[in-house]
Symmetry: C2
Subunit: 134 residues, 2 copies
DNA sequence: TCTTGATCCCGTAGTCGCTACGGTGTTCAT
DNA sequence: ATGAACACCGTAGCGACTACGGGATCAAGA
């Protein structure tokens, strides 16, 4: 009972309306029923699915990964090795990215708090101009 | 002397040819001279500028930030407060992102190494299905 | 009942920073 | 002279949305 409009659905799942329609277009969220006037009418199932998607996105999974995870979630009797592999790969990605950004912030840290008077002595401009390839 | 073809320029700056033409299109790299046949002929100045751009991108600066930094670099007599602010803001962005990813990797770490037999008991699928908004 | 403002519809285009494609012309070494 | 390698150009694609424009519909108050 009590079908949700797209606006209410978005509110309750924490997802933008345009994004919901986008998920429908790419086949991530199934097409809902429609009112006589053509308005989308969502059921509780859609809400659960959309929350699953949002949570996956929050955790940084790609749309395609989420598509796979949703397929898995629909088959509770099957082994979950695939889900585990997906998550492990994603975790490795995230850890690589953290390392990368950490190196970056160290370099940026060295550059900033430049106390020079003019661009001519500026550490930042200097660092960018540094030649290291030849 | 010794003008560079786009391929040689790309090699020496560590930048893809298509990317160089893209930078030209968006006005980041000035249009070079052309040979009779219409081939681009780059001078040393282009190489310096392109390396500046690449280094900026490596450090994660946006194209627009680099555009500003380039403008600054062209006026060595001016104060470098703007460059300092840009770099500091970027550093803050990077640090925020690191924090975010660290939280993420912790959550993912809890999820992975799931030893369940089936999706029904899978921690990963479970975590995604968890309701927290209402 | 009328009106007003919020909500919804749809299709399309824009965002960022490239990267790829396709078809043609040029250069260079053998 | 031939063939590989390189260059030209314009356009479209990527991922994951987000925004826009112009119209239809709904709910609530006067």
């Amino acid at each position: 009972m009590s079908a949700l409009s797209i606006g209410r659905l978005g509110e309750r799942a924490g997802v933008n309306i345009e994004t919901i329609r986008y998920y429908e277009r790419i086949g991530l969220l199934p097409e809902p029923a429609r009112s006589l006037a053509g308005y989308r009418l969502y059921a509780e199932d859609h809400l659960r699915r959309l929350r699953f998607i949002r949570r996956g996105r929050d955790l940084g999974f790609s749309i395609e990964a989420i598509r796979t995870l949703l397929r898995l979630a629909e088959h509770p009797d099957q082994p979950c090795a695939d889900a585990d592999r997906l998550a492990a790969e994603h975790l490795a990605d995230v850890e690589r990215k953290i390392e990368e950004l950490t190196r970056l912030s160290e370099e940026l840290g060295k550059m900033t708090r430049c106390c020079a008077d003019s661009v001519a002595q500026c550490r930042i401009i200097d660092a960018l101009g540094a030649t290291e390839y030849e």
